[in-house]
Symmetry: C2
Subunit: 384 residues, 2 copies
């Protein structure tokens, strides 16, 4: 332990903020006159500037991937088990960068920010952003940090989609792409779940067309429902059975509508705590970005393989056996397309009962695979 | 065609109503002083009274299983493809009875009915009913119709659970049980989806604690969400992909929150039309009845096999390959328990891409199985 933190923790971290005064035209055609990104970094950029790893966050993630903001922070960053001195993504060798995405609610410019055109929060006027838009903003961040080429771009779920998009949009700026628990596009069912979540938020009377900040309320009911629903899709049926089964909170049926089964209590708690930390307008934007993601869309014959033909990265694709949100079959679509495009790809399907959430967990084989892969990256170029 | 109906249709049907003035004590301990059931019958009860088939409906079903209420009714009863002269459940041979369940909203006593104690609609005061309670009411209906023993009790989904419960509660009153697309209990995930649906309804400001009738409103937003969510679980991912894919309504992304993908339009439509025909308090009751269903609960060691040991029926269990709400694995649990209990059981797993909804559809092999099974029932006893 150093200062109370484990030796292999990055310890205390201070988020950084960068302003981009050059306007940005988004995929929608909307123009942002300026924006800011908050981000964290762990480790040191080496003299050759070739040891930088970009971490892209998922739907409800943020820039706080590792370490602690305050000594007694209840939980460290969301990917803390992965990142640190001696951890699979070893910060003694790599310089790790994790930004909060544009449109987010953790500090980067988004619906909560003031629209310079009106002097009021953007709220529902914040434009819909795409995975491609995020990659553009991350590339500008890389420029400013003096990173010409990432040693790796890495993410799980929606974060993995960003890693994939990077290889398409900036083929020469990514040496390795780690695409974990992701998919080349959403299925109809994925979109359907997102639509129910959006409907829950937008039909909440406290949503006020997205201008709820001005009313001093939040669409808590809708956001809570969206999160409860999301949680069901993040966990496998098996892990829910193992963790909660049909356990009754009071040991007997109460024939009422209070909490009876333990799973009900869990879902309500998850919904409650999410409402306290996340913004509903951002949630809407993130689900749209997921729906829209489809890097094959502009390729001939809508072919993912053709879309990936001009990429130059080496790829690691990882899926989890019990993930039914983005199942192994979806990862294999990416792998097949890469093979068809004659790209360099490794693929591992990890046995895990934890469902989609596995990508956040310290599943031993998964972490060994990542450690080995980062060792390979370090050996083949980047070193501190 | 006769009178404009196909020759193998039961044609025009008139729902019947029966009042039960004897009080009923429910599993919860609550006492209903009296109740009424609406039901439909098709075909004729034979002189031996041994050709009666009870149809049990599912979550959002009702007593209108076959035929037409008016000549130009847009759609016939919900299991019309199965029931009629010459159809798999042949009404020239069988006398078919289908009641609306207690607690329902299609005419049987339920939340919409007047509570004799208050002179006001029961609303949220209508007691939670269980599958076992339904079986009791159906047994009383059988008594009044002069049916000592059903040739068959049959249902899909929650209806199949009633058929299973019948064999446990009245082993000598069921010759055959047809249990289709059902499960011996809900999984944690099933309960979780129900809880989200209930939460959507109960947190709708128009719910008014269930007393929305008196306010002249309905919790439309919550009920719509519940139905949208339900629909996702009724259909397989594959069939959603085949029917809607990622098709865009306007052929392009609009970067807004109106309908973009066709699936969004479908879900909204399903939600809308459900709100017009279904009562939210009944929906809450039905989901609770599903959650509570667990015929093994009172058996030694919570053993389904032991719970089924005293049954006397012959069983047909049917599942559908793409059903992820009540997967084939759940049907196999029932089959295994029946085999362990040394009961007579046939099991068929039907290949179908249509998901849970398959049980309502004219899947050719499925209907052939049912036709064959009913032929066997007819040959072994019941005949007109």
């Amino acid at each position: 332990m150093t200062n109370g933190f484990p030796l292999d923790s990055v310890g205390l971290v201070v988020p950084q903020r960068m302003a981009f005064e050059q306007s940005l035209t988004l995929a929608s055609g909307a123009l942002l006159p300026r924006y800011e990104l908050v981000f964290e970094t762990y480790g040191e950029l080496n003299a050759a500037r070739d040891n930088a790893v970009l971490i892209c966050h998922a739907l409800s993630g943020d820039h706080h991937a590792a370490g602690y903001h305050v000594p007694d922070e209840q939980r460290p960053g969301w990917w803390d088990n992965l990142i640190g001195p001696g951890r699979p993504l070893d910060t003694r060798r790599f310089f790790v960068v994790c930004p909060n995405n544009l449109g987010g609610c953790a500090g980067s410019t988004g619906p909560l920010s003031v629209d310079p055109a009106t002097g009021q929060p953007y709220g529902p006027d914040f434009p819909i952003v795409t995975v491609g838009d995020w990659v553009q903003t991350q590339a500008r961040l890389a420029d400013r940090l003096g990173i010409e080429r990432w040693a790796a771009v890495m993410g799980g779920s929606l974060g993995g989609m960003q890693a994939l998009q990077w290889t398409v949009d900036f083929p020469d700026r990514v040496r390795h792409a780690l695409i974990i628990a992701a998919a080349p596009s959403l299925t109809t069912q994925n979109i359907a779940f997102n639509e129910v979540a959006r409907h829950a938020i937008r039909s909440d009377p406290d949503f006020h067309g997205g201008r709820y900040y001005e009313q001093g309320v939040v669409p808590a009911t809708g956001l809570r429902l969206a999160r409860m629903l999301g949680h069901i899709t993040y966990l496998s049926d098996d892990v829910l059975m193992a963790r909660f089964g049909r356990e009754l909170r009071d040991g007997k049926l109460n024939f009422g509508f209070g909490v009876e089964f333990e799973i009900e209590s869990y879902l309500r708690h998850q919904g409650e705590s999410f409402v306290k930390r996340f913004d509903a307008n951002t949630y809407l934007l993130m689900t749209k970005s997921l729906d829209y993601f489809d890097p094959a869309a502009h390729a001939p014959e809508h072919s993912l393989s053709k879309a990936l033909h001009a990429t130059n990265a080496e790829f690691l694709v990882v899926s989890f056996s019990s993930d039914w949100r983005f199942s192994p079959a979806r990862s294999r679509e990416i792998v097949r397309a890469l093979l068809d495009a004659d790209r360099d790809v490794s693929y591992v399907e990890i046995e895990s009962e934890q469902g989609h959430d596995s990508f956040l967990l310290d599943v031993p084989l998964y972490h060994r695979v990542l450690r080995t892969y980062f060792d390979k990256i370090a050996a083949s170029g980047a070193s501190a």
